[in-house]
């Protein structure tokens, strides 16, 4: 699914000065299967970009198109379908449910699409070194552990695009690389693409497209 941003300018960022390479107010295409890096310093609108493409924010001029469809014309049912099958997201604030366990957080998502078996999910947790947290309440985990749970949750569905908003901000290099491997394997397996926002760290990956804000 090709995503096109046509002269998108979020209202809160309209009064700011944007550099020559900034994507705001320009036509940008995200091609299927591409690995996209979105690089910007704090406050430039990385989260705004993710939330705009994901349909959480609608306070912008211009349009975001999925193939030929303007996202503003999508119904609630269309968005539900997109969020279940086409675009997955790892939010900067993670958006986990702190009152329930890791298991419940992950199964709540996986039960929607039946993407993995419980054993497969446990293998992911094991690979990221947090399998012992399976029955633990999510709110009691460290930020790094929660970030890994959020990454696994985002993978528990089929997708054509994976949007990641600074997903490794609380992880050390070793855990970041493990997470990246999991993400890239799953993305390539589905011939999907991803957008990774970062403050400047490329994490040693070859990207098809680099965007600036």
């Amino acid at each position: 699914m090709k995503i096109t941003l046509n002269q998108v300018m979020p209202f809160p960022l309209a009064s700011m000065h944007h550099g020559e390479h900034s994507i705001w107010g320009k036509q940008i295409e995200l091609l299927p299967g591409n690995k996209v890096m979105l690089n910007a310093s704090s406050g430039k609108g990385k989260s705004t970009f993710i939330n705009t493409v994901f349909g959480i924010r609608t306070d912008f001029v211009g349009s975001v198109n999925f193939e030929a469809t303007d996202s503003k014309n999508l119904s609630t049912r269309d968005w539900t379908n997109i969020r279940q099958r086409k675009i997955s997201a790892i939010f900067q604030d993670l958006q986990l449910f702190p009152s329930i366990t890791v298991k419940e957080n992950l199964l709540l998502k996986n039960n929607l699409t039946q993407t993995f078996t419980t054993d497969q999910i446990l293998n992911f947790l094991d690979f990221l070194g947090i399998s012992d947290k399976w029955e633990q309440q999510c709110g009691l985990l460290s930020m790094g552990q929660q970030q890994r749970v959020a990454i696994i949750r985002a993978l528990c569905q089929p997708y054509e695009w994976l949007l990641m908003d600074e997903p490794f901000s609380h992880l050390d290099e070793d855990n970041t690389q493990r997470c990246l491997k999991l993400i890239i394997d799953r993305t390539e397996e589905q011939k999907s693409g991803f957008v990774l926002t970062s403050l400047g760290d490329y994490h040693g990956i070859q990207y098809d497209q680099t965007l600036m804000l």
Partner: protein, 391 residues
């Protein structure tokens, strides 16, 4: 899992208060509807006259005895009464203007003869099938409605003559005959009892028989209208009573007591029903408000679930089912307590001599279903509005 996430950490105080209110409201609502229906049915069928019907006449005073005041009703008086809002209908009770005697005409029953007084009323006041209540010259018999007192008198005669007494059913099988006459001619017409009345003191005959007698055997001057049959509207008997007092009219005490009793209990039940409707309505609103509160408290959970791909309809269904289940439990408990209440109330009514039909009226279930349906629709709309606001 979804329920665990969305319905945790509830402050159940408000929920319990709303549930209690709804439970009491439903119990009293269905009880009042049930008893209102049963009370309105009370007396129907057992009496040949329709419900809420009384026969009135002007009070006989010393001055009327001396012919200084009238005891008959003019056309104008009847018309005026008909126009009153609490009166359903008013019709004169017509009396015979010919000589008539009544006797047994059955070989199995000893001869009994008496001069009688016959009357006729508008058929709309009578609770009898119209195909039973008609007569024309040449018919095998005249259908009659007999005052129960007359049967008592007949049985007293039987008993004194050492003859077995007769029941209501048997009396309806016995053949009787009228002797209709004036100074110059006389005919015999067979008669058969088709029902009994406690309210009328004379033998009731069809209008066509009265017209025949008055035409063929008239004793001269036309009879005056001294009695009226009045049918009052449901639960407005007090106004009928006030009218009787104002106009100096009187009726049989039993009729008045029954009408007054029905009217008072009916009004009380209406008040209880009104309060119950308000209680159910307010409790329903509190429950819906509680649902809104729950959705607001769980705004983060609701919003995040939709962000990870949950369809709003799944969340709407979760909230909707939770609350209709709660209301279902309340309705079930309300119905159960209604049955317990009904058991005691039926006992009380029976002990008090009011024999109401004890089967549960269909309207009770209809009211319950209606209330439940209204709540279900309202809770679905509230859930839908609340969830879509967070999308």
């Amino acid at each position: 899992m979804i329920q665990k996430l969305l319905f945790r950490n509830q402050d159940r105080k408000q929920l319990i208060i709303a549930m209690l209110g709804a439970f009491m409201g439903i119990t009293f609502l269905i009880a009042s509807v049930h008893y209102l229906i049963r009370l309105n049915e009370f007396g129907q069928g057992s009496e040949i006259l329709g419900p809420n019907t009384i026969i009135v006449q002007k009070k006989v005073t010393n001055s009327s005895s001396l012919a200084l005041t009238k005891t008959d009703f003019s056309e104008r008086e009847i018309e005026k009464m008909e126009k009153l809002p609490f009166i359903e209908k008013v019709k004169p009770v017509l009396s015979n203007n010919f000589d008539v005697s009544f006797e047994t005409a059955d070989p199995l029953v000893p001869r009994f003869r008496s001069d009688v007084f016959v009357q006729t009323v508008d058929p709309s006041f009578l609770d009898v099938h119209s195909n039973k209540w008609h007569w024309k010259e040449g018919d095998a018999f005249v259908p009659i409605i007999m005052p129960r007192d007359f049967l008592v008198m007949l049985n007293t005669f039987m008993s004194a003559s050492n003859i077995p007494q007769i029941s209501d059913d048997l009396a309806m099988d016995i053949r009787f005959k009228f002797t209709v006459s004036n100074q110059t001619k006389k005919v015999w017409v067979d008669a058969r009892i088709i029902g009994f009345t406690n309210e009328v003191s004379s033998i009731l005959v069809p209008e066509s028989f009265m017209a025949y007698g008055n035409e063929q055997f008239s004793l001269g001057e036309e009879k005056k209208i001294t009695q009226l049959m009045i049918s009052g509207k449901e639960n407005e008997f007090g106004k009928v009573e006030a009218l009787l007092k104002e106009k100096g009219l009187e009726s049989k005490n039993a009729q008045m007591v029954a009408g007054r009793l029905k009217s008072v209990i009916g009004t009380l039940l209406l008040v209880v029903m009104g309060i119950s409707v308000i209680a159910v309505f307010l409790s329903g609103l509190v429950l819906l408000q509680y649902m809104q509160l729950l959705m607001s408290k769980n705004e983060y959970e609701v919003r995040t679930m939709m962000r990870i791909g949950y369809a709003p309809k799944i969340l709407i269904r979760t909230f909707f089912l939770y609350f209709v289940k709660i209301f279902g439990i309340i309705a079930g408990l309300g119905l159960g307590s209604f049955f317990i209440l009904k058991y005691f109330l039926d006992e009380m009514f029976t002990t008090g001599g009011i024999y109401l039909n004890t089967s549960v009226s269909l309207a009770t279930f209809l009211v319950l279903t209606t209330v439940y349906t209204f709540f279900a629709i309202a809770s679905y709309r509230t859930a839908s509005k609340g969830i879509h606001r967070h999308f």
